[in-house]
């Protein structure tokens, strides 16, 4: 080996050891710096994605118009499009109303956030939201939707934050099965893909009487998530030699999720 290659190899090993021995705090600081540098690109990417989607829709609309022109129903089509647009507005209005209602009725202080990027990494089930430390978002804060628990904040930067979803194996939640004394730990499953992945509820009693359709809520224990937030419904239950395990269908449709709410650390006595 040439001397310069040997020096390069030694320097590389030193650099790798330095990186591998960083403390958790240093890693967070590094991540914050990198996220602050790339957040304009993430936001830009989200904008570009929206523009591309709108363009595709526009093209689809143009093709539909042409077909309808051939059928000589211009006026009728115009009305149809108007109605479709109004329906779209109506749906949007209903969604926003639902979100606003949730924000107003939530028994704790929540901050609305938009998902700007989905699943940026290969193996972790995460999303990026457009709220960061400037808006009061901090690490481990609960993220909700009107349907139930979404996950928790993993890495906040100044303008954006990464949220680890309930469908990730790393997001463990202390959960209880409604109507039973059963308490367990709910988490996602490793390596699963698809829009509607099921969750695993482990450490239940092996002789538990759990039936499909039963609701699963957070217990509030463990200091991460507030109590009585809907997590999902039981799909199946299997008894093992030591513990029972249930498959849970999440309450939240993660593929359709656009707006989420971050539970900010205000006192529960001052609901908004």
């Amino acid at each position: 080996m040439k001397p310069q290659n040997l020096i390069a190899l030694l320097l590389f090993i030193a650099g790798a050891v330095w990186a591998l021995t960083r403390s958790e705090q240093s890693v967070r600081s590094i991540q914050k710096t990198v996220y602050s540098a790339i957040s304009p690109f993430i936001t830009g990417g989200s904008g570009l994605e929206t523009t591309a989607t709108e363009f595709i829709k526009e093209v689809e609309h143009s093709q539909a118009w042409e077909t309808k022109y051939d059928l000589a129903k211009e006026e009728l089509d115009k009305k149809r499009i108007e109605v479709a647009y109004l329906r779209k507005l109506e749906i949007e209005n209903a969604q926003l109303n639902q979100a606003l209602k949730f924000q107003q009725e939530a028994p704790f202080h929540v901050l609305a956030a938009k998902i700007i990027r989905r699943q940026p990494s290969t193996w972790w089930q995460t999303v990026t939201i457009n709220r960061g430390e400037k808006q009061g978002v901090g690490v481990q804060l609960t993220v909700l939707s009107p349907e139930g628990l979404v996950g928790k904040v993993d890495a906040p930067s100044e303008e954006t934050s990464t949220v680890i979803l309930l469908t990730d194996e790393n997001c463990q939640v202390s959960a209880k099965v409604d109507g039973t004394p059963e308490v367990g730990i709910l988490s996602g499953q490793r390596g699963q893909t698809g829009d509607k992945p099921n969750l695993r509820l482990r450490f239940l009693s092996k002789d538990a009487t759990i039936k499909p359709g039963m609701l699963v809520f957070t217990t509030g224990r463990g200091g991460l998530f507030p109590a009585d937030i809907l997590l999902g419904t039981i799909e199946s239950f299997e008894s093992g030699p030591l513990y029972g395990e249930a498959l849970v269908k999440p309450a939240v449709d993660f593929a359709a999720l656009k707006i989420v709410f971050v539970k900010t650390p205000n006192s529960p006595e001052s609901p908004r």
């Binding site: 790798a16 990186a19 890693v27 290969t122 193996w123 463990q172 499953q189 490793r190």
Partner: protein, 195 residues
Amino acid sequence: MIKYTLSVILLTLAACMVQQFMPAISGLHGARVLILPLVFLCATVSVNFATMLLLAFICGFLWDAQHALSPQGGDPEVYTNPVESLRFGYSIILYAMMGLLMQGIQPLFRKGKWHISSLLAGIAIFLYLFSEYLLINFVRGDFAFPPTAFYRIYLTSALTMLFSPLIFWIIFQLASACRHTIRYDGLKREPRYLD
């Protein structure tokens, strides 16, 4: 040479930014085009050993800075079996291993057989993702390898490989603009003479 090395580093940083615009395709088991690893792999075949290690460090560092997860947190009495995450910095080692693999076929690349490097880039991405998944299994225990994980690895590497001719073209353009001749300058065995 320095001009070319600097431009390759800038290309890598640009790839890191472009990676932010690459969405996961839900219809393909969440597969995506991994531009940053691809640029690294294509670049390593055109640079010397020391530059390859430098690029491996930059790419691995940036990759982990974006993707490393925080510790789970919560009360250890409730969460008695915390899920371990990979340590920050592991990607630096994985990138270096991929780079070494690519440098092994540098003589072929020098002869103009870039398509072999292109194919190997796909294989290297496959091995990278596979090793990453095995590492996750190793640190978390309870080995699980569902078919969906294999599809994600396979489709991601196949999708990424499709873009390698474009990256090689950009690298050749860069080399030409910097008046740099891509030559075999990797690990060589010194000739031994018997007395």
